[in-house]
Symmetry: C2
Subunit: 321 residues, 2 copies
């Protein structure tokens, strides 16, 4: 039997990741192109279609090798209509009919979902969530995103806002402002930006020595990575901040765990590169705050696919059809 591929696309605000993925979920080829946001993003889909054609030609493959195109997009999606409600980062007009337009450009079946949901599906198919039917995936990056999977299907909710874990309120009173317009969201304390902010604020009030003070004096800023590096060097203030971040994440994941009792919770995104320095205290708070059955049966894991999760999950959209 001839091998078939799926094109997986992870459409980002500045870069679009593309990959050809076989039916086992293995990446056969992957590459990137710039995302052209000019003129309300009118070239974005054309560029994707052209890039796929060029790649196939270079590989000396016919278009027939492709079963379809799965695409993850940075915005809430109406699955039935195949449109993005809004994608501010792309400059796209609202309600753009992505599935129809990309289907006409390529002549291939197209499936779409939100990028955080695609990352969750990727981790389910080939990453840390492999084998789990019920899965929660949380992405700690510049912001905090999430994907909820029940019975191998992404939960979208009535208006595509399921999985907005970053905007769960963890500080109900006097929390910091969030980009979403609320205050005290998980994103304000557990994103890379949030961790950097908390660390910087604490520098000014902390009376003892801290390696973070030296770094801040030298760089003029503190990154989330600086905080974790210092914590690994046993810096007391850094350890206190990591503990605080882990408290909010462990509490939130336990509370979602009590609602869904997923088999696995997968933590990904740039911040998760902190590894066990972050996972261990999150797991500890998770077990403290979760209902006993949930604490025993839901397990926490670091994501394993890194930046490939999006394209692999996008391909799953076609594979699972």
């Amino acid at each position: 039997m001839t091998e078939k591929w799926i094109a997986g696309i992870d459409l980002g605000g500045t870069t679009t990741k593309l990959a050809f993925i076989n039916e086992n979920g293995d990446i056969v080829h992957k590459w990137e192109i710039d995302t052209d946001n000019s003129e309300k993003g009118k070239n974005i889909l054309k560029n994707i279609s052209d890039s796929i054609d060029q790649k196939l030609e270079r590989l000396n493959k016919e278009k027939e090798i492709l079963l379809g195109i799965g695409i993850g997009v940075p915005g809430a999606v109406d699955l039935k209509k195949g449109i993005i409600y809004e994608a501010v980062n792309l400059g796209w007009e609202d309600n753009l009919p992505v599935v129809q337009a990309l289907g006409e450009l390529t002549g291939l079946p197209v499936a779409i979902d939100n990028d955080a949901n695609c990352a969750a599906l990727g981790e389910m198919w080939k990453g840390a969530g492999q084998g789990a039917k019920d899965l929660l995936c949380v992405t700690l990056g510049t912001g905090v995103g999430g994907g909820v999977i029940v019975n191998k299907q992404i939960v979208h909710g009535v208006k595509g806002a399921a999985g907005e874990i970053g905007h769960i309120t963890v500080i109900p009173e006097n929390g910091s402002p969030c980009n979403c317009g609320k205050t005290g969201c998980l994103e304000t304390v557990a994103s890379a930006t949030g961790i950097s902010r908390i660390a910087t604020e604490n520098l000014h009030t902390y009376k003892n020595d801290s390696r973070m003070k030296d770094i801040f004096a030298k760089q003029g800023r503190l990154s989330a990575k600086d905080v974790f590096d210092c914590a690994n060097e046993n810096d007391q203030l850094a350890k206190k901040i990591v503990d605080q971040v882990a408290f909010y994440l462990g509490l939130t994941l336990a509370n979602i765990g009590n609602s869904l009792n997923p088999e696995k919770i997968v933590i990904g995104g740039g911040v998760s590169k902190a590894g066990d320095t972050l996972l261990a205290p999150i797991s500890s708070y998770f077990r403290k705050f979760a209902f006993s059955t949930v604490a025993q049966s839901t397990s926490l894991h670091l994501a394993t696919l890194g930046n490939d999760a999006g394209v692999i999950g996008a391909a799953w959209l076609i594979k699972s059809k």
Copy 2:
């Protein structure tokens, strides 16, 4: 075509509710029997089977009118095996094969789920959640229970603990002890028991007059209903307590809402009889704490089926097969 019925059973610790329900979800006949907990509950299923037979005989109907039996049970359920993990209130032994045993006794197809999940399905089929595919149901009674429905299916999770909303931690530090072994659970502040406790504690420290002080002096106790009644009479302390309860409920439902973005959230159980006195402030806090899309698209409702939700939802288990 001959009308067909489904037997819906809501098995409680002291009373078992039974009903014959037609395929439209309307109750044709309903009745109750005592739950016999003696001898490790060995008579429970036999009593149910006998009671169904007697009722059919009295109605002059053949057993063939029944499509099957749906049963809601007070404990976590393993759906695949058709067993209850444990049902402390029934005195039943663990891992009892309910589906098989009741099937053999009656010769009918049997379907099982947890009682809170059946109540959620009932509200989805014929109650406040009618028409919604994605639904969250929260039951405020002696405890706080919940049922999560995604795509018309109950979410069970890996070990049946999905929907344990009552044990979401709302007071992470110095909360009151909960029956589950943790502290600061939603159940400690939003169940009938919790509301009564908070009110009583507040009496001692409140310096002004309150009608609740008079009631407590007369009765020696304060019920959740007393608190709502006093709030309706504009008692300031009672209003403060209702506001506090609504704060915790609105915050919790908003946070679950951000994970699932259900079409409807239905609030039932004895405490929900407070009606708009409770629903209005919950809705207000919900909109404050929910992500904007969720605040706009997820709506809150009072349950409408009362004690019938359980038997109707149990019948749905057969209807939906």
